[in-house]
Amino acid sequence: MAMNSTLFEKPNLSVRIGSLNLKNPVMTASGTFGYGEEYSEFLDIDRLGAIVVKGLSIKPKKGNPTPRIIETPAGMLNAIGLQNIGIETFIKDKLPFLRQFSTPVIVNFFGDTIDEYIKSAETLCDAKGVQALEMNVSCPNKEAGWCIFGTNPETLRQVVSVVRKVTHLPLIVKLSPNVTDIGLMARVVEDSGADAISLINTITGMCVDIVQRKPLLANITGGLSGPAIRPIAVRMVWEVSKAVKIPIIGMGGIMTYKDALEFFIVGAKAVAIGTANFINPCATIDVIDGIEKFMLEQKITDINQIIGSLRI
């Protein structure tokens, strides 16, 4: 009888990302969940491990001309152009809504310059209800010929180090997959003082209209997401988990709990659901329920027993 009762006990899904305690390891990926309000009529926000909001900058950004999205086999290309309402408006208009939930709010932010990164981090740090910061380093650096911050180890080190100095909040750096050696980038980020790493951001791609001979996106190139990129994301999370000791948040094409489990096994301590939210607004909840059911079936009592358990 005693054994039976332990079998039916709820498994432990809580994990720690630096000083951040998550009730479960499933969060939303930045840019796919708006500022939370958009999805609140579909699901119980309180059930999420964390909410990562749409990327913010000091000044509001209009974003790119259209077409901004195009569907590809098992994926989609997007070039939204970081459209956002700006940090000030976010704090004033959106954060009060998010504060009513127990779910931690992680704010994704970016800048065109190092100075903008510093200002963004400082402003967000002082805002009540922001529990962690996620730095997007996949955007272009205005002061260095619009090269991507996160694809050069030196600019990456520079921008992460300065942001580290101005914030006491847990700092997550979201890596770009558009690099030759993701492990190297991860080490740079760890050495620069980040508390956690999230990956992967979208993979740069392109689609062409063969009759018009024109790119299908107004921006010419865009970021590929969806199940098409999942094996690449799993591989990169595995490489990063071998390269660093800080926690990893894995993402890239997770549609179901089975996809999420692959990321945990290769070393992710948490996962983020992105494009799947567009197809199924309850995708995050389905993944949480699926993981719990799987653990019950497999008699796994703690999610931490799965994390980094790859057998080779």
Binding site: E38, F42, T66, G226, P227, T275, F278, N280
Partner: protein, 239 residues
């Protein structure tokens, strides 16, 4: 296509839309936005043109199959208070039909399409309108030419018509011509817009259109799924 919702649903407003998907093999990955065409207590009905993979799959759905859908979504048409004009281009009739049904014999219908085969549901629409004007590009039915030509003639010979609001759904060239007509005659026009859409709930920011505003550059991007799909035609800016 007629769908019976398996869960309780909210009654849609004229001009609202649903996101639909009939397959889960990730190709196509996304749901398809379709305007509500007709509905009652039991069923939701959609009229659509097969354009690509998603609509092709939807067209092959058989009785008894299950379709995933989200809706009703977006802001529909501001309901007319008296008589009104409808301008439909091709499959655009799908979005406007609920207005004809709800406001029987209140609309003057202008319906244009490429040819007679694409003039869908024209008989039903004809019965519900006060009177109807029809055109095709190839002249297979009605006037040979653009529906906006017929509208221009109508406005010229019926001065009271300038007071009537126009409800329209069609192609971008049609919207552009209509825009110049309503600006010339100082008329009001509500246009239902189509854009590539990923989520349908306002999160992805993929489906935006340029809307006149006081912001820098004279415009701001608004989401077709959330602030639309119906906009005041006067405010829309096309590149």
């Amino acid at each position: 296509m007629k769908i019976r919702p398996l869960a309780e649903t909210i009654e849609p407003q004229c001009g609202q839309f649903y996101m639909l998907q009939s397959c889960d093999n990730y190709d196509p990955l996304l749901k398809r936005p379709l305007s509500i065409f007709n509905f009652d207590e039991k069923y939701l009905q959609f009229l659509f043109r097969i354009k690509g993979k998603g609509t092709s799959y939807l067209s092959k759905v058989k009785a008894g199959d299950i379709i995933h859908l989200i809706g009703p979504l977006g802001n529909g048409y501001l309901e007319p208070k008296g008589d009104f004009i409808i301008v439909a281009g091709g499959i655009g009739i799908a979005s406007l039909m609920p207005l004809l049904v709800k406001f029987r014999k209140k609309a003057i219908l202008f319906f244009g399409a490429r040819n007679s085969n694409e003039l869908l549901m024209v008989d039903a629409a004809y019965d519900m309108a006060i009177n109807s004007y029809v055109s095709t590009d190839d002249g297979s039915i009605g006037y040979k030419g653009l529906i906006t030509d017929l509208l221009t003639d109508f406005i010229k010979s019926n001065h009271y018509s300038k007071e009537l609001p126009i409800y329209c759904c069609g192609s971008i060239p049609m919207f552009k011509t209509l825009k110049s007509i309503i600006e010339r005659h100082n008329m009001t026009c509500y246009a239902s817009i189509e854009e590539y859409m990923a989520c349908g709930v306002g999160a992805c920011l993929g489906c935006v259109v340029k809307i006149k505003s006081d912001e820098e550059g004279g415009f701001s991007y608004k989401r077709v799924c959330k602030e639309g799909p119906v906009f005041n035609l006067r405010d829309l800016i096309w590149q």
